[in-house]
Amino acid sequence: MATKTDLSPARTTVALSNEEVLRYSRHLIMPEVGMEGQLKLKQAKVLCIGAGGLGAPLGLYLAAAGVGRLGLVDFDKVDLTNLQRQILFSNDDVGQPKIEAAADRLHGLNPDIQIDRHETRLTSENALDIFRDYDIVVDGTDNFPTRYLVNDACVLLGKPNVYGSIFRFEGQVSVFGYEGGPCYRCLYPEPPPPGLVPSCAEGGVLGVLPGIVGALQAAETIKLILGKGEPLVGRLLLFDALAMRFRELKLRKNPDCPVCGNHPTVKHLIDYEQFCGIRGEEAPAPQLGVPEITPRDLKSRLDRGDDLFILDVREPHEYQICNLNGYLIPLGDLPSRVSELDSSREIVAHCRSGKRSAEATAFLQKAGFRKVLNLKGGILAWSDEVDPAVPKY
C-alpha cells in the first residue's frame, strides 16, 4: 500500500539535489530503488577493506551508486603489477599511496559522497574502532589473517560482512553475519597452515576475475542497503571464469562456531597472525639453513669457468618469462625426477625469490647430494645485482 509513510524519507533532512536526481535517474525510475532506495544509499555507510583487485570495482560501483559514506582501509602503494587488475589506478599513480589515488578517483567519479581514508594496516587493536562507524563491511582482503580478523570483528559488532575471495580464475562470494546467518568461520573454522602448498608457483590471478567478484560484492552490498531481493546469506557462490560457470552451495550456521555459535569462545579479537601460523614466514630460507650463493658470487664463478649445474625449480611458464639457461625441473616434480641430476657435480638451485629453491636444496641434501647451493634471492636478485636485462615478475 502506498501510504504517507512510504514517502517519508523524502521529507527527512536527507534529500537529493536536482543534480543528484539527474545523476541517479536510472536508479530512481526503477521501483526497486526509487527515491526511497536512493536516499537509503545516500545515508548508507560502507567500509571497504582493501583497495586492491576486489576493492577497485567495489569502490567504483558503490561510489557511482551514491553510497553516501565510503570508508577505505589500505596501507599499500600502487605498484606496476597492480594495474593488470586494479582498475581504480592509472599509470601515473604508481608509487602513490593506494588510499590517496583511490580517494581521488572516487571523488572524481562522485563528488557528492564522503570518502574516509583509513591509511593503516587493519589490526586487532584498531578494527573495532574503525568498523563501529559503518553499517556494512565489505571484505576485499588478500590474506587469511585479515580475513579472519574482519569476520570476527563483524560478528562481534553484529555487522554484515560481504565476502569475496579469488584464486587464479576462481572466486567465492557470500554474505556473512547477516541477521543470524553463518559467518566465515562456519564455512572454514581454521585457515590452512602456511607452507602447505599449492605453492607460490600456483599463484596469480586472471585480471578480470576480481572485477567480476568485486562487482558481485557491490551488488550484494547495494541489495543489503536497499533491503531488496534475496541476499547471498547461507549460500556460497562459486565462480569459475575458465569454465564460465556459477555454482551455489548451501552454507549453514555452525552451532559450534567459536565466534557466532551457541557457545562462542572467541569474545574479543585475537592475534590473527599467530592464529594463521605465519609469524616469521617472511624469511623461510634462513630457517631451512641451506647453503647459499649470492648472485654476484655465482656470476664470478661462472665467469671463471667453474663447472656449475644450474637447476631451475620454477614452473615451465615462468621459465618462458625469463631464465638463467638452467635445467628446468619444477619443485613439485623434483622427487620423481631426481635421477636426472648428477650428484658428483656442483648444483646451484634457483627459483624466483629463493624460497622454492631453498626447499629444493634441502630436499637434495636429504637425498644425498653433497654439493648443492641455493641462489640467494633467486632470479629477482640476479636481475638486481648482476643482469638488469633479466625481467622481474
Binding site: R85, Y188, P192, L196, P198, E202, L242, L249
Partner: protein, 99 residues
C-alpha cells in the same frame, strides 16, 4: 556408483591437472580414498596427519556440506557431484604470499 569429483583450482596440480575426476564410490569417504589413491600427492592436501579432513577443506555432495550430512559415511547416488572446496585468500597465492 559412478560419481563426479570436482577438483578446485589450487589442487588441480596434484590431480593430474584435471578439473573433474569420474570414479566409482558408494560413500564420500570411499570417493576420497579412491581419489587420493589415484593421485597420491593430493592426500596431504586433503587430510591431516591424523587422517581427518583438513579444516580449511570442505566437501559437498551436490550442494550440501557433508558436515551436515553423514560426513565420510554420506552415501552417494549414481551421478552425484562431489565438490572439494578449499579456502582461498586472494590474488597473490594460496596463502597470500608470492615467492
Amino acid at each position: 556408483m559412478s560419481v563426479k569429483v570436482i577438483i578446485p583450482t589450487p589442487l588441480r596440480a596434484y590431480a593430474g591437472k584435471q578439473d573433474t575426476v569420474e570414479l566409482q564410490a558408494s560413500t564420500v569417504g570411499e570417493a576420497l580414498t579412491t581419489l587420493t589413491a589415484r593421485f597420491q600427492d593430493l592426500k596431504r592436501h586433503l587430510f591431516a596427519d591424523d587422517g581427518r579432513l583438513r579444516s580449511f577443506v570442505n566437501v559437498y555432495v551436490n550442494d550440501e556440506d557433508i558436515r551436515y550430512l553423514q560426513k565420510d559415511a554420506t552415501p552417494l547416488k549414481q551421478g552425484d557431484t562431489v565438490s572439494i572446496v578449499p579456502s582461498i585468500a586472494g590474488g597473490r597465492g594460496f596463502n597470500g604470499n608470492q615467492n
